[in-house]
């Protein structure tokens, strides 16, 4: 029973307090939903509860890791998880994102008369899963956490079940999600198969360390020893293809516009921010950990993927009229830029901090910008199940200058226009890419950014400029900017986000030392 104790002692549940709290909170939300008496009047009681709960958690977590608990690099659960400073940053990221999703969600759910409890429950479970996913140090945890997230996301995407689009997006996301997790799984299996018995599969054993065969460290050693083993290589690329699906990198980006298009607005934001960020955090962990031995092999592949992603995302986004599809495709392009930075971090192996922090910063800025945008989008009152289009925003600056300005901050930040924070983020990417001499990808990035100006500017134009003149017989759309009352929290959140985004464009104090 020694071993039993040994394993159990390793199960440091305390390290997981934010995740556990969040999961418990998720359950509690269900309970609140269940027992809230007045079902019609105070429907969003559990919405408020969820928001408050997450806000408190976020603040407490921040305080905790900023003030009390910033130890570095611990592992728990027999090395299945790895916590550290970066892990705490990631947790903050996801908590923030989840909080924003809940805030936007409350508005969306109210408008569409959907269930609050389930939505927040799923969001919080997904967030907890994401947090675990990004701290995982073992492929089993990785897989299980990933699937938890995925299974929470499928119903979220299809959450508005009265909408055909939402359901269709759900089924599409499910089919391709399952497909991609199958690919990921196959990759893990390959890695495990060779790792567990290297000699049987023509590989060199990494030595007689007593290590978990599914742990990242072991796989890392294995790959370092056998960079030419075909099964291992296949395993690696399959794992990467699974992650490519998450981050929406070519050629696994194809689902992105459809799913973004169909999902409810908060879920789109959630997908765009958290899910994608998780993919990147994971990718960073992998390429700077287990896949380090394969760097030379992977770089050209990633370079190709990144270039393709940038161009494909941007070009396709140019021709889009529907906003959410456009945002999805632009997200693909952003994934491409970030991939370049991932490559840079592979080049900077050993001293990867710079590129990694560049990516973190980029993702934070992307979070701010995305939630501003989706937050404002959620304020539109559209006809049932119709699409968000540029023309919905026509003349927003005149009607609601504050909102319009916030939205402008968000869009400009995404476009990487100085002095908004998105520019600094892009600059950091440029910088690390240049430092690692990724000139080709850098060129693609520059071209991509220029193309992206076209569609971002199209939107800005719609927001700022007066509506284009219409033909006589053309129907003037109804003003979608009505019913803006009772959204104080969301407005406040949008303002705060916009303000933060602006400040970070000029002063990056907190990140300064990390760069």
């Amino acid at each position: 029973m020694n071993s039993f104790l040994q394993f159990s002692e390793n199960n440091l549940w305390g390290e997981l307090w934010p995740e556990i709290t969040l999961a418990l909170g998720a359950v509690f939300v269900l309970l609140v939903d269940l027992f809230s008496k007045n079902k019609n009047g105070s429907k969003n009681i559990c919405g408020i509860f969820a928001v408050l709960f997450q806000a408190v958690l976020l603040i407490y977590h921040l305080l905790d890791y900023l003030l009390f608990n910033h130890t570095f690099d611990r592992s728990s659960f027999s090395g299945m998880l790895r916590h550290g400073f970066q892990g705490d940053v990631i947790r903050t990221f996801f908590l923030l994102s989840s909080l924003c999703v809940s805030i936007i969600g409350n508005r969306y759910l109210t408008v569409n008369k959907l269930k609050f409890g389930e939505f927040h429950h799923l969001t919080m479970v997904a967030t907890a899963g994401l947090m675990l996913l990004c701290q995982s140090n073992n492929f089993i945890i990785l897989f299980v956490a990933l699937e938890t997230v995925a299974l929470a996301f499928y119903p979220l995407v299809a959450f508005n079940r009265s909408s055909e689009k939402s359901l269709e997006a759900g089924i599409k996301y499910l089919v391709f999600g399952a497909l991609s997790s199958a690919l990921l799984l196959l990759g893990i299996v390959f890695l495990y198969g060779v790792g567990a018995n290297p000699s049987a599969w023509g590989a060199i054993s990494p030595g007689d360390y007593k290590m978990d065969f599914l742990s990242f460290e072991y796989v890392g050693l294995l790959l370092e020893q056998n960079p030419d083993n075909l099964i291992l290589r296949s395993g690696v690329v399959l794992v990467l293809s699974g992650i490519a699906f998450k981050i929406g990198a070519a050629p696994f980006q194809i689902w992105v516009p459809d799913v973004y298009h169909g999902s409810p607005v908060p879920v789109t934001a959630f997908l765009a921010v958290s899910s994608k960020a998780a993919g990147f955090f994971l990718l960073l962990t992998l390429v700077n950990g287990p896949l380090l031995g394969m760097t030379d092999f992977l770089l050209p592949l990633l370079g190709f993927v990144a270039t393709f992603t940038i161009l494909f995302g941007n070009l396709a986004a140019c021709a889009q009229q529907k906003l959410k599809r456009m945002l999805g495709l632009s997200g693909v392009a952003h994934a491409g830029y970030l991939l370049v930075a991932v490559m840079a971090s592979m080049h900077l192996a050993g001293d990867s901090d710079r590129a990694v922090w560049a990516i973190y910063f980029y993702l934070f800025m992307y979070l701010l910008a995305s939630f501003i945008i989706f937050g404002v989008m959620s304020l539109i009152t559209l006809d049932k199940d119709s699409d968000y289009e540029f023309q919905n925003f026509e003349g927003l600056l005149k009607k609601h200058p504050w909102l319009a300005l916030c939205l402008l901050v968000g869009v400009s930040s995404l476009a990487g226009i100085p002095p908004f924070s998105g520019f600094i983020a892009k600059l950091m990417l440029f910088n690390v890419a240049f430092q690692t001499k990724l000139y080709f990808s850098l060129t693609a990035m520059v071209i991509g950014v220029v193309i992206s100006i076209y569609y971002y500017f199209g939107w800005i134009r719609a927001i700022c400029f007066e509506p284009r003149s219409r033909f006589d017989d053309e129907e003037v759309p109804q003003d979608p900017w009505i019913k803006l009352d009772q959204i104080g929290l969301l407005k406040l959140a949008i303002l705060l986000l916009a303000f933060t985004s602006l400040v970070f464009g000029i002063w990056q104090g907190p990140f300064g030392d990390a760069f």
């Binding site: 071993s3 394993f7 199960n11 389930e118 299980v144 938890t148 049987a200 023509g202 075909l230």
Partner: protein, 186 residues
């Protein structure tokens, strides 16, 4: 060619054939049936690999639960066979898919070939059921369920808990998607 080998080929034929027929059969019900055959074949292969617990699980979970669910839904929705019109596009996409998959198989073949094991005879290491449960990091293979239980309760406690939440999320998700809407009229 010993008995085990014959059984291997038999069951693999079952699994592959069932799978292939499932993919190709017109009617969903028969597809589900073929699927069950395939799953049983895989379960049998598990048995051949001495993973008895998993074989049982395979039958219980897949054949027993999942496929029943499938059949149930097929019946519920009364889904007929794919549209009879074998348009050219379908044919072309079928061929393209076949070609792509063939390419995939070739890729896999090359991969296995490269590891040099399709030709040579590799050892099946004997299972030592009486060995210790673990060497401290990895769990030892065993035919007994005890090892499973040990692993799940110690080393894989966290994933187990997560899967619990996974199932909860799935459940909530299914509820969201299927609960009758009460508040909304029409």
């Amino acid at each position: 060619m010993n008995t085990v080998d014959i059984l291997f080929y038999l069951f693999s034929t079952l699994a592959l054939g069932g799978g292939f027929l499932m993919v190709c059969s017109k009617h969903p019900v028969s597809a589900a049936m073929f699927m069950i055959i395939s799953l049983v074949g895989v379960a049998a292969l598990f048995v051949l690999l001495e993973a008895f617990f998993l074989a049982v699980l395979q039958i219980l979970v897949y054949a027993g639960a999942v496929m029943v669910l499938f059949l149930f839904i097929i019946m519920l929705l009364d889904v007929g066979p794919d549209g009879g019109k074998a348009s050219r596009m379908k044919l072309i996409s079928g061929f393209a898919g076949g070609f792509a998959v063939a390419l995939l198989v070739v890729v896999f073949l090359i991969m296995i070939q490269d590891s040099g094991l399709l030709k040579t005879d590799s050892q099946w290491l004997p299972i030592n059921d009486s060995a210790a449960l673990t060497d401290g990091t990895n769990l030892h293979f065993s035919t007994s369920v005890k090892n499973f239980g040990f692993g799940l309760m110690t080393k894989y406690m966290l994933p187990l808990q997560i899967s619990g939440f996974l199932l909860l999320a799935a459940m909530v998700g299914v509820i969201v998607l299927s609960k009758k809407e009460q508040g909304t009229k029409n």
